[in-house]
């Protein structure tokens, strides 16, 4: 049952991810990206990380992608016009993809030997309590640094918007 669900949502995620690139219209790409986020959230849920799944949907699918869609609608971006592929892309595209996948497979094999199979439901540290404990004790410094980084980004956005208003 777990494996079937995993396969279904993994396939949906990959198909949506390919669709993001293939679609010519920005809105269709954005909606496909929402599909990727949603299926990733289901995969997190299958692995027992329920807080991460909820956060994925709330933050990525529900807030960031809504902003994407909003901006695309606001700018009323039309669909892209496909140009012919350049010679470099035609020659190197497929070989480079294969090489990249091979390197990825090699590193995954090296870092995580096949003895540690992913076992569905074996992980129980994904609750809100555990994540909160970890964030505010073990990972306190990275957490605070990230929040300051985001604060700087917000301030930067305000400064840029101010300049335009004057």
């Amino acid at each position: 049952m777990d494996v079937i669900l995993f396969l279904v949502f993994a396939i949906i995620a990959v198909v949506c991810a390919i669709n993001v690139v293939v679609q010519t219209h920005p809105i269709s790409s954005a909606i496909s990206l929402v599909g990727v986020m949603g299926s990733l959230a289901v995969l997190y849920l299958l692995l027992g990380a329920e807080f991460l799944a909820a956060a994925q949907v709330i933050v990525y699918a529900g807030a960031i992608m809504v902003l994407f869609v909003f901006v695309i609608m606001l700018l009323n971006a039309g669909s892209e016009i496909k140009k012919g592929r350049s010679l470099t892309v035609q020659l190197l595209g497929v070989p480079l993809l294969v090489a990249f996948l091979a390197v990825m497979a090699y590193f995954v094999q090296r870092l995580f030997p096949s003895t540690t199979m992913v076992h569905f439901g074996g992980f129980t540290g994904g609750g809100v309590r555990e994540i909160g404990r970890a964030l505010f004790s073990t990972y306190l410094l990275p957490f605070e640094v990230t929040s300051i980084l985001i604060l700087i980004a917000i301030l930067g956005a305000i400064v840029l918007a101010r300049k335009e208003m004057d």
Binding site: I31, G62, M73, N76, V128
Partner: protein, 399 residues
């Protein structure tokens, strides 16, 4: 129940619960609209729907038949896939969140214990936030894919409004969670057990009354209701994001709005008003309140039946009175009390909140768009933040 494993029983019970909740929700959706029309009509001193059935009670049925049999038009200039997807998204996301709402405590039926709730998730609150944040896609995509400037403006307004009001809404939800210390909606209600003074709205160390007010204001904006119904302001935008929709697709948006209203009221009840908990303990007679209410209503109907203004009231009012008295008697039966009383209090609270929604629609004018955005960013969001900070401090200082 003999010869079945516990898993099979669980499956059967869950299917029954799903069917019951779905049927009740759909009926409530249809009749909420009737109640709304009636209440607004009486606020505006007119009778409202009156001709279809007794006091217009069959009006929702007539509306459903009208919407189903209407021609389902797809305009030629729309983006077909997204145009069809949008109402589905809106109604699905609106109906999903009812799955985690607890209507009552754990009950025992024929020796089998079950929750009066479809699923008790340990991240129930986050689930509702996630689902409701996905609901904005339905409206935004409907506005965009219709390829119509009124729809697009409506869709844009609604996306901006829903993103903005989600912040104070989430912060207002976070404050009672600090007090209750759980994210499961069932546990949330259980932590408020006792009486009105242990509901989160009056709970020590910091009563969540401000949080509740902020929650309700943000909820009005999230559900696109008056005074924040800018996405469908008919004098500026024709009908807003659903201008190009007809038949069942229009009905989906309509139902989604009412389903969202019900969900938000259920959330307000569970988070702030103690869910199914009675305002005071049963040993001081709170279990007699529904009996008294129904009995009084029954007696009133009898009184009006005796001093009737019209001839037909001589029969109709006593009939209603008998119904009310039977209801009052049912509440006295000990075997149904364990699930009927929590259900009564839950429905009473949700109904009161829904009435506030309708009441405000009949009373307040619409905001201007810049006022709407300024209000949330300059007042509501800082207020919610302050409330969360004070609650956090007081909870941390609590011995």
């Amino acid at each position: 129940m003999h010869g079945l494993t516990s898993e099979q029983i669980f499956f059967i019970v869950t299917v029954i619960k799903v069917v019951v909740v779905f049927a009740v929700l759909m009926t409530v959706l249809a009749y909420l609209q009737w109640v709304e029309r009636k209440v607004i009509a009486h606020i505006q001193v007119r009778p409202g729907p009156y001709n279809v059935g007794w006091h217009g009670l069959l009006q929702p049925l007539a509306d459903v038949i009208k919407l189903v049999t209407k021609e389902d038009l797809i305009p030629p200039h729309v983006n077909k896939l997204l145009y069809i997807l949008a109402p589905f998204l809106a109604i699905t996301m609106a109906l999903l969140s009812i799955a985690v709402i607890p209507f009552g405590p754990k009950i025992t039926v024929a020796g089998y214990q079950t929750y009066m709730q479809l699923a008790d998730l340990n991240i129930g609150v986050l689930f509702i936030l996630a689902v409701s944040s996905m609901g904005v896609y339905g409206i935004a995509l409907a506005g965009w894919s219709s390829n119509n400037k009124y729809s697009l403006l409506g869709g844009l307004r609604s996306s901006a409004q829903m993103i903005s009001y989600e912040l104070p809404l989430s912060l207002a939800i976070a404050a009672p969670l600090l007090i209750s210390n759980t994210l499961s909606l069932h546990d949330l209600v259980m932590r408020q057990a006792g009486g009105i003074w242990t509901w989160n709205i009056l709970h020590r160390p910091f009563p969540q009354i401000f949080s509740f007010i902020i929650f309700m204001i943000a909820a009005f904006a999230e559900t696109n209701r008056v005074p924040f119904d800018l996405p469908e302001a008919e004098n500026e935008l024709v009908a807003g994001f659903h201008t190009e929709y007809s038949s069942m697709k229009f009905a989906s948006f309509f139902m989604a709005e009412y389903a969202n209203m019900i969900t938000v009221c259920c959330m307000g009840t569970v988070l702030f008003l103690g869910g199914w908990i009675a305002p005071w303990p049963a040993k001081y007679g709170s279990s007699l309140v529904p009996v008294v209410i129904f009995a009084l209503a029954g007696l009133m109907a009898f009184y009006h039946g005796v001093n009737s203004a019209r001839r037909r009231d001589e029969f109709s009012f006593p009939a209603v009175g008998v119904t009310f008295l039977i209801c009052a008697a049912v509440f006295l039966l000990p075997m149904v009390q364990q699930w009927l009383l929590p259900l009564f209090w839950f429905c009473a609270k949700v109904g009161a909140l829904l009435f506030v929604f309708i009441w405000i629609r009949g009373t307040l004018p619409r905001f201007r768009y810049d006022q709407l955005m300024g209000f949330t960013w300059k007042f509501l969001f800082p207020a919610a933040m302050l409330n969360l900070l004070v609650t956090g401090f007081l909870v941390a200082l609590r011995p």
